[in-house]
């Protein structure tokens, strides 16, 4: 018997109105995220990924279909969006502060543990400008984790970093998500990133976005799996080629 999914989109469609008429953005999207799973949505730029994220986080209501969510959402953005005038500690507490839980001992202990575990405790009184890109992105993730979300939405969280930092940060973030036993949905246009990160990959077409294919990623790596080990797995290239073909096909259909 299959467990109830944490998050499910059921035949979701979405259109917007503008001066010229109706703009269809999403067409019949069905996605499920199980407890403890990392999934990726992979699609060409401008295919409506941010619309999906806005629907998932409740900022937009879909025009068709249903969305079911068991648990709270934590959002991780492309850029870290740390506030320059706050120290790292104050930044990390921002979410708790907004939800008026800053005085909750349990949450403060959790924040301290996260900062210590992910090597930011010594830097807690520094300002964001004094930290490297990777540290900033970790601080941003801790800010999200501090409010204890059940589901993490990652909106191209590495695309603003240079390629070297990017590999390191994705190692870090992956390890944190796994260790904290979170479920995550990664939205990206980067094929390798999707394969190295996700258990399941949903491939979207160009706009209006439809689901083209779903891949279950199974790689032979030494446990525990990490994005870097995944990149070296023998199956990686096969997945990459298959998905690349798929996306090129989609571009031709356009």
């Amino acid at each position: 018997m299959k467990e109830e999914p944490l998050l499910s989109l059921d035949h979701v469609s979405m259109h917007f109105f503008n001066q010229d008429g109706v703009l269809p953005v999403l067409d019949d999207i069905s996605v499920q995220l199980q407890q403890g799973e990392i999934s990726a949505m992979l699609g060409p730029s401008g295919c409506g990924k941010s619309t999906i994220l806005n629907i998932l986080s409740g900022l937009l209501k879909p025009t068709g279909g249903t969305i079911e969510r068991k648990g709270s959402i934590g959002y991780m953005f492309q850029r870290d969006h740390l506030l320059d005038w706050r120290t790292i500690y104050e930044n990390v507490l921002l979410g708790l502060e907004i939800q008026k839980q800053k005085k909750s001992e349990r949450h403060l202990q959790k924040v301290e543990r996260l900062l210590r575990t992910y090597d930011l405790w010594e830097f807690r009184n520094r300002y964001p400008r004094e930290l490297s890109g990777g540290m900033r992105q970790r601080a941003a993730l801790i800010r999200t984790l501090a409010v204890d979300p059940d589901i993490l939405l990652l909106d191209e969280p590495f695309s603003a970093l240079d390629s070297q930092t990017r590999l390191m940060v994705s190692e870090d973030i992956y390890a944190i998500i796994r260790q904290e036993q979170k479920s995550a949905l990664l939205v990206t246009h980067d094929i390798s990133e999707a394969i190295s990160f996700a258990d399941t990959i949903y491939i979207l077409s160009h706009r209006p976005a439809r689901l083209r294919t779903v891949y279950q990623v199974q790689l032979t790596t030494q446990a525990p799996r990490t994005p870097l080990k995944s990149r070296n797995a023998p199956e990686f290239q096969q997945y990459f080629n298959a998905i690349w073909e798929e996306m090129m096909q989609d571009a031709d259909d356009n």
Binding site: L59, L83, W85, E97, I98
Partner: protein, 268 residues
């Protein structure tokens, strides 16, 4: 190793000295320039090259200053002008920023008032001064109202533009934690614009001084603007010149005060 550090220290000391010398040189030349101008003016007046009735002379300005200074009335005039400027500045800045917050809060409202703000901004506000004086009375309150009318529109427009320019994604980040509009304003929009608000304050100080002087030209019994306009009416150009010089000094002092505050707030 020691040798190298020693020579480096010496070189640094020499550099510092040269730097200091240059600063002193500039300051000295500035004073010399000022003294030279005053000397030429005085000389031209005494030698009859210029008509002292129209141009006055530094010694005449100093004399009249001494009269106002020794009977203490100069402080009254300076005090009134500064007070009017200060009150106008506070009202204009606070109201302007408050209205900008309301517009930020309601994009719908801001779209409605937009054309009105654009027209008011383009209009030379001094043209409104006579009306404002009629409305608010021919006294200190009217003069303050003129200062406010000159500074408030600029404040609204610049503060609103600054509030709007905060990264939309940062707003979404706060929303993702369930932040209310008030929390977004208080935790993001206002602190993100601290430096902009400071430069806005600097501009406002100057605008309010313009408003106060214009107001004093129109109606007043006291203040630096009154001294200038009274002096010109009775053809006492020494009084006019004195007013202008005092005004210049006051403006310079106010600007230094704001720079000082800005420096302190930024480094706190």
């Amino acid at each position: 190793m020691q040798m190298i550090t020693d020579t480096q220290d010496q070189a640094h000391a020499a550099w510092l000295l040269a730097h200091k010398r240059e600063k002193q040189k500039i300051r000295g030349l500035q004073l010399l320039l000022l003294a030279g101008l005053l000397f030429c003016w005085e000389a031209a007046a005494r030698l009859g090259w210029i008509d002292t009735f129209l141009f006055s002379s530094p010694s005449a300005v100093a004399q009249i200053f001494w009269i106002y200074f020794s009977n203490g009335t100069i402080w009254m005039h300076i005090g009134i002008t500064m007070w009017e400027t200060f009150v106008g500045f506070c009202i204009g800045t606070v109201c302007g920023i408050a209205i900008a917050m309301v517009l930020w809060w309601s994009p719908f409202l801001s779209r409605i008032v937009d054309p009105f703000l654009v027209v008011l901004n383009a209009l030379p506000k001094t043209a409104l001064a006579p009306i404002v004086i009629v409305w608010f009375g021919a006294g200190i309150s009217g003069i303050i109202a003129v200062a406010v009318s000159i500074s408030v529109i600029v404040t609204i427009i610049s503060a609103y533009t600054d509030f709007r320019s905060v990264d939309e994604d940062k707003v979404r980040m706060l929303q993702s934690f369930g932040a209310t509009k008030g929390q977004i304003l208080y935790k993001l929009i206002l602190p993100a614009n601290r430096d902009n608000m400071l430069s806005l304050a600097k501009i406002n100080m100057g605008l309010c001084l313009i408003g106060v002087i214009v107001g004093e030209f129109l109606v007043s019994r006291a203040g630096i603007g009154y001294l200038i306009v009274y002096g010109s009416q009775v053809f006492r150009l020494d009084l006019v010149m004195m007013g202008v010089v005092i005004l210049a000094i006051c403006a310079w002092l106010m600007n230094s005060l704001i720079n000082f505050l800005e420096h302190h707030i930024k480094n706190s």
